[in-house]
Symmetry: none
Subunit: 225 residues, 4 copies
Amino acid sequence: MSTPSEAPAIGPTLPVTARGQRTRSKLVKAARSEFERNGYLDTNIQDIARRAKVAYGMFYTYFTSKEEVFGEVVAEVRDQQRTISAAEPWRGDDPASRIARANAGYLRAYRECATIMAVIEQVATFSPRLAETRRDARRYWVSRSEAAIARWKADGIVSADVDPYYAASALGSMVDRSAYVWFVLGEPFEERAAVEQLTLLYCGALGITPVLAAPPRAQTPRSRR
Amino acid sequence: MSTPSEAPAIGPTLPVTARGQRTRSKLVKAARSEFERNGYLDTNIQDIARRAKVAYGMFYTYFTSKEEVFGEVVAEVRDQQRTISAAEPWRGDDPASRIARANAGYLRAYRECATIMAVIEQVATFSPRLAETRRDARRYWVSRSEAAIARWKADGIVSADVDPYYAASALGSMVDRSAYVWFVLGEPFEERAAVEQLTLLYCGALGITPVLAAPPRAQTPRSRR
Amino acid sequence: MSTPSEAPAIGPTLPVTARGQRTRSKLVKAARSEFERNGYLDTNIQDIARRAKVAYGMFYTYFTSKEEVFGEVVAEVRDQQRTISAAEPWRGDDPASRIARANAGYLRAYRECATIMAVIEQVATFSPRLAETRRDARRYWVSRSEAAIARWKADGIVSADVDPYYAASALGSMVDRSAYVWFVLGEPFEERAAVEQLTLLYCGALGITPVLAAPPRAQTPRSRR
Amino acid sequence: MSTPSEAPAIGPTLPVTARGQRTRSKLVKAARSEFERNGYLDTNIQDIARRAKVAYGMFYTYFTSKEEVFGEVVAEVRDQQRTISAAEPWRGDDPASRIARANAGYLRAYRECATIMAVIEQVATFSPRLAETRRDARRYWVSRSEAAIARWKADGIVSADVDPYYAASALGSMVDRSAYVWFVLGEPFEERAAVEQLTLLYCGALGITPVLAAPPRAQTPRSRR
DNA sequence: GATGAATGAGGCTTCATTCAT
DNA sequence: TATGAATGAAGCCTCATTCAT
């Protein structure tokens, strides 16, 4: 392994011609497919070029390294997920509704990108650069949750004992890790029930009394074990 | 040569003499150190042998591959953690006390092995074998928690809406991932407060009214960001 | 990494450009030279690349292993030998003439490739694949001889006691092994006399009365110890 | 590979004690078994020691190298074969009977040691030392045959055209190689018929009229092809 | 831009042989 | 003698990256 830390954030040259742009984007697509199929470590440049049906050397015309193209893929994934979770329908303004919507959106977005998420998780364990990126993303939504919780707490909706920072961090970990455990590790679950239970737990943890209409009882998936 | 045939392929054996045992354990220790220092991928056999101050080939006298020593290290870590969390003092028989004790033990054990835990997490992302091991371990404690929650639910201590399986899984993820985020990723936190808040969230999520004596208010760590 | 999965594993391909073709054939030539100089076992990839004046890794661009280039060399040798023995002038249609021509051609072809033949013999002792190839070649010419002998036998030219299969096999062995003993092991002989005597023995064994004009007496080589 | 040429012909020290002798001979026996099972190249010292149930280092107490122990095995094989072929019953004093007896004995001896003979053939292709040994043995029996043929020729029993040296060499090759082809390569044959046909061919080649009683017709083995 | 050949360092593994006990 | 641990050179193969055309 090696994680050069000084490479520019964007490839050698951005393509000028339309043909160049097409080639570059074929490479990104191919890279994503290969990463999804074989993981980061077992994917080599040859594989990517081959799948993109592009000459080997072409890769280095647009990217300086495997890590760089991976960065591109990650950015793409992030956009995709943002779009997906943004598409989650609004459910109401009360905390429970917001939490439910966030959880549903998160799981849905995760599901759509589960395969590549596994790889991102993998790379984050050895690439300082990607780890940093992920940490930044994490901090962003933790601080948003923290702010919301703090607000709710000030409003008396959230239990006074709750520390907004720890709560945001820990409950964020709960949702994020559950998605990984279910979608990536393949532990048994049923998505609708999962969202509902996560929301129930999340609200309960904060001391929020859900305004939800009586939800259907969760069905423990039978296939597990 | 060309056809190894269906060779017996007798791999490395456990050392017979005291000297051999010393050497082998020097290798395991060295391997752990190197893994902790450089991660799994950036550690090579040469490094391990060098640090153990034995000849290169010695490694293969006792292990067949890097993955194999790593397995040994993991087993060692597991034992170490079990010992640590078992040493956590008893706090009471009620659910909240048990939960608090489990969380405290878990975090403490994690803290002691944080560096190698990062590496284990890394390897689990690409080694099916280790991933399997981890999944087994996870299932074990999830099912234990599930059983406890189910019992409490039957006793009316836990909210009727809670599904024991999802709760065990998600709350387990919360604690486990929080430990990773704090100890490995280095996000700011203070252990005592963390235990307390995790417990609070865990209990709240289940709808348990803590029997805890009035706890000191959690201090949001200032150093965070 | 640990699981190459059921990878497509696209091996080396034939070079597309003229330059690549040149390099590839430099490698084959170099391989043959090295095999001839040091034998199969004592030739390593480094040697081949060095002699071809290309980078080490280049070898693996065109071949997967030493065994593979060797196969190429063997094919080349086979072609060369076929060409040589086909060039042997016609001597007549009678059995003795045909036998004489075949023997002369065989020895001549063997002589031209004696050094590499020694290596082929070597590899055939431990490479099942090459052994198979050789066995096939052997079966081919044994069955051709067998057919001829059977024909001659039917025509009353060959003794009735002779079994065509055994005769073809054993006399083939005689010629083949003699070539090895003389050209490879360096036992003393003189080629013209050798051809003549082999033919005499071959014909006599079959009970064929040679139509040959009175041949000059064979000269036992004096240099033999 | 490496074939040190200056090693002493006999191991470091010949064992003095009875126990030492037993150990040494266990090693030779084990070596032979391993060589037979895996060939020379794929047999390592560890295998030999393990099979002999003797400590690894013990090997070097009695032998300086793998090649040396192999030499020992070869000597043993040679003795065994000599014994076997000497046991072949006498058939008469005439050339045909002597030839028949020699061929029968040769094939029988070869059959008994076929597996190790394959290995000896293998090693002879890369070990100058063993090649030398074999060449000596070959020269010995070629010159014996040559002498016999010369005698028969002087007696007018063998055709005047035959050159005793070439005849001895070529017919020796025929028998020797046939044994290899049949016993080692596994080409189809039936031993009794093979001996008979070899003898027929051998005698015919020399122009000897066999005195043999009318032999049963050879049966071409049906399993071939 | 495009192509694919060329480079060579780096890591893994084996195993004959030597040595300490 | 016996034991088995220790040594380290040697070879194999991969692949990220650079270059010539």
